[in-house]
């Protein structure tokens, strides 16, 4: 095993970098693992939500009297049960969200702003009674004109969602409200001068559809509030500390009185970084004085939890005849949903990040419309803008007669490259991923008619953030690890390996759990590819404390000086002549006599992790188009991505494969379909077509490891980047298969078939 930043070692017990058995695996394959909807309490009520049938309507009155009179109904909440919140922005996933909007999103206030917007909620003794009660709630609406499309929403005279929304980021401040919440931009160099140097310029407009994260487990929450206000909540979330903060704020609770437990989670991908049911369940429980359980249906998940933005993107790039990129312009218009806060800012910053270009100008607009408020989705905002740029890069390669990998290699960002968003990159691995792809047998395999091959690269920043872990040495020498970031993609396995290596104990002697908010210090959420990066850094800190403590105890026991002992290979070892008098003491030896040498042994790592290393990836895909149906079948797919160092290679590969599959769905099939009535037409997995196992081949994963010098093991986050390249790679493969440049996602069979017919390429 290679040494990385000095943290791979011990006496043969090297678990970091190996494919250890997942600690949560047995429970998951036997059905014993408890997800959000598996939790129940004695005497619990069932909560259900009444949702707006209208995409845009003023709420004139809500009469709950008939529903309250129904036997079995124990509580009903409406907008009157939530105090209004001042305008204050908070981080929510990659976006900033305003508490004034959060309180209106969890429960409609003046207006319902999308079909499915909560208007009231009921707690009753059974699901049937709760459903019946919802029908008895009388809501008087004044139906208003709606707007769904982002471009239409930007036009003067479009139905206005918020009469107090004035476009930020433009000077002078507009004197009229609009649906354009914000204009953002980045500039580097002189883009117009850059285009003058170009021998070839390609300009295209692209459209992408909003897509849902598609986590298999719907939102679920169980809350109980005691008479003294002490609140317990079990919920499926990417960040239970964030849930606690939001609920305390929205309901006027002391944070210390709210204990939130993150259940096992069946996927989140960014969509479980915000609150929907949680404040409703607490408010209902507080009112009913009984536990309340709430679970969304799949239809509710689609209609009322955040997808990511759909967008319109215009890209213009210029290159010299020898292939050097000299200018890049882009204009991004992202749907935010009913409230401001789309991921357009990171979309702007990521658009040209993979390339070394002197002149860049990217403008973005954050636009509200009558759709559910968007939530984060892996590398939020980046897949959209980078898809458009990667498509144009391929067109430039064609115009210049250059190999698309060679063109990317020629312009690739490297250590020292000034990113379009400002700073210079440190050590990064884009070039290595391009090289890895070029060396594959896949790249060199011939294709047949109607088959096409596409390549694209992608980037995401990665983050660190506030993290706490605790390590406890138990009396028998086993180790308990408590982390505070929900385990979505193998966190416990990865961190367990780090603990085992740091303390020199066998992997199976470390048991890892995710602690609740009452058991551990603050943790930011699992997102931004941060949990394994930050958690492993915090473990190193906690383990240092334990090692220092054990060395100190050994000095006392052996009547030695600090420089006569060292912690190595799982034991405190005497140095020099002392070694002739005493024998090394293992962690387990100290555990047995902990009470006699100072008491319990443990460490707590509390850090605000910095030094996240950016991650780049390159994807290669082969597909075949059926000219009679327009259906594209993915034949082969290879991902190469820089992981810095893979703590657990199988889980890193899983992240690569999962991102690729989600990207395949985004590129080929997934979309929200709205009718003219502003209502979602495909709120279920039968009509919202996500890839299933039979749709995709085995995704080959290549682990590129360019160590992150800021991390003790060299780790970079890996979860976000894999969803960035697939959209561009598949669009490029489609062009190579059909000769048609598709500029609208998804490239679903009806669209492809129409394009083939228009070109006279359809056989039927």
């Amino acid at each position: 095993m290679a040494e990385t930043n000095g943290h791979s070692r011990t006496n043969g017990q090297h678990y970091v970098g190996t494919r250890t058995v997942r600690p949560d695996g047995m429970d998951k394959v036997t059905g014993r693992a408890r997800f959000g909807a598996d939790f129940n309490l004695p005497g619990q009520l069932i909560g259900r939500v009444l949702r707006s049938p209208h995409p845009h309507a003023r709420i004139i009155a809500i009469d709950t009297s008939k529903a309250l009179a129904l036997p079995g109904v124990k509580a009903i909440i409406t907008r009157d049960d939530f105090a209004d919140q001042p305008s204050e922005f908070i981080p929510a996933g990659e976006m900033m969200m305003n508490y004034k909007d959060v309180v209106r999103n969890v429960m409609a206030r003046e207006k319902a702003l999308y079909e499915g917007h909560p208007v009231a909620a009921v707690a009753a003794t059974s699901t049937a009674i709760a459903r019946k009660a919802l029908k008895l709630i009388d809501v008087t609406y004044e139906v208003l004109p709606h707007v769904i499309d982002v471009v239409l929403a930007m036009r003067p005279g479009a139905p206005l969602l918020h009469d107090d929304l004035f476009t930020a980021g433009v000077e002078p401040r507009p004197d009229k409200p609009s649906n354009i919440a914000k204009r953002v931009e980045i500039k580097l160099g002189d883009v117009e001068a850059g285009f003058k140097k170009a021998d070839v310029v390609v300009e295209r407009e692209f459209k992408t559809a909003p897509v849902h994260q598609g986590y298999i487990e719907p939102h679920a929450a169980l809350a109980t509030v005691s008479e003294d206000g002490a609140t317990e909540l079990w919920t499926t979330t990417q960040g239970h500390f964030i849930v606690r903060a939001h609920c305390a704020r929205l309901l006027g609770l002391d944070m210390g009185k709210v204990r939130v437990t993150a259940t096992e989670i069946g996927g989140g991908f960014g969509g479980k970084t915000v609150v929907y049911l949680e404040p409703l369940a607490i408010a209902l429980s507080r009112k009913a004085k009984r536990p309340v359980k709430m679970v969304m249906s799949r239809e509710e998940v689609f209609k009322a939890s955040g997808p990511t933005s759909g967008a319109t993107v215009r890209v213009k790039m210029g290159a010299t005849k020898d292939g050097k990129f000299v200018a890049g312009f882009a204009e991004l218009k992202y749907q935010a949903g009913a409230f401001q806060g789309s991921p357009v800012q990171p979309g702007v910053m990521c658009a040209y990040a993979p390339y070394d270009i002197e002149n860049v100008h990217v403008i973005g607009y954050d636009v509200v419309s009558n759709r559910p408020k968007v939530a984060a989705y892996r590398a939020p905002g980046a897949p959209i803008s980078e898809y458009a740029v990667e498509s144009v890069v391929d067109e430039i390669a064609k115009k210049l007669g250059l190999d698309p990998i060679e063109l990317r290699m020629m312009n690739a960002a490297r250590e020292g490259t000034k990113a379009a968003y400002g700073p210079k990159f440190g050590p990064i691995g884009l070039e290595e991923t391009l090289n890895a792809i070029k060396k594959t047998e896949h790249w060199n395999t011939p294709l047949r008619k109607w088959q096409g091959r596409g390549v694209a690269s992608g980037f995401w920043f990665n983050i660190g953030g506030e993290t706490t872990v605790s390590l406890t040495v138990n009396e028998d020498g086993t180790i308990s690890l408590m982390a505070g970031t929900p385990d979505i993609g193998g966190l416990r396995a990865s961190l367990t390996s780090v603990v085992a290596d740091e303390l020199g104990v066998p992997y199976d002697k470390v048991r890892s759990i995710i602690g609740d908010t009452g058991s551990l210090g603050f943790n930011f959420l699992t997102g931004g590819s941060r949990s394994a990066f930050s958690g492993s850094m915090a473990i190193v800190e906690a383990a240092k404390q334990i090692k220092a403590d054990l060395c100190a105890r050994a000095c006392k026991l052996w009547e030695a000086k600090p420089d006569q002992v060292e912690f190595k290979d799982g034991a405190v070892r005497p140095l020099g002549a002392l070694g002739e008098k005493v024998k090394p003491m293992t962690v387990a030896d100290f555990a047995k006599t902990a009470g006699k040498t100072g008491g319990p042994i443990g460490g707590v790592g509390r850090i605000n992790a910095q030094g996240a290393g950016p991650s780049f990836g390159t994807h290669l895909v082969d597909l075949e188009v059926d000219p009679e149906t327009g259906r594209a079948t993915i034949l082969r797919y290879t991902v190469a991505q820089d992981a810095g160092r893979a703590l657990h290679p199988a889980y890193v590969e899983g992240q690569y494969q999962g991102g690729a599959v989600q990207g395949i769905g985004w590129a080929l099939n997934e979309e929200y379909v709205y009718g003219d009535d502003g209502k979602l037409q495909n709120a279920g997995f039968l009509d919202y077509r996500m890839p299933v196992a039979s749709d995709v081949p085995m995704i080959d994963a290549i682990l590129v490891e360019v160590a992150n010098p800021k991390h003790p093991y060299g780790v970079r986050g890996v979860g976000e980047t894999p969803i960035v390249p697939p959209l561009g790679a598949i669009a490029n493969a489609m062009e190579n298969a059909t000769g048609i440049r598709f500029t609208e996602l998804p490239m679903s069979p009806p669209k492809v078939l129409k394009a083939l017919k228009d070109k006279g390429l359809n056989r039927a």
Partner: protein
């Protein structure tokens, strides 16, 4: 003096001034000096910006040191999904 660059919309608050030479030796000092030069910037700095010091991005790191020859960029905060 560290060279400090405002990225994106922040320069709108300073009337278009995007580059500064400042004597700050920490992020906290940097924010204080920028806030004194352009009081309208202060609330934006308080609400959270990322700071790239010599290529390394830091978030919520008031005590991070800045060298006299450092190149510093103030960016929108970054998180993820």
């Amino acid at each position: 003096m560290a060279r400090v660059v405002l990225v994106g919309n922040l320069a709108q608050v300073t009337g278009g001034v995007a580059e500064f030479d400042l004597s700050a030796t920490s992020v906290q000092q940097l924010f204080r000096q920028l806030g004194e030069l352009h009081p309208a910037l202060a609330p934006h700095l308080e609400s959270g910006v990322a700071v790239a010091i010599d290529g390394q991005i830091f978030q919520d790191a008031l005590l991070e040191p800045i060298r006299a020859d450092s190149e510093v960029f103030l960016l929108p905060q970054i998180a993820g999904g």
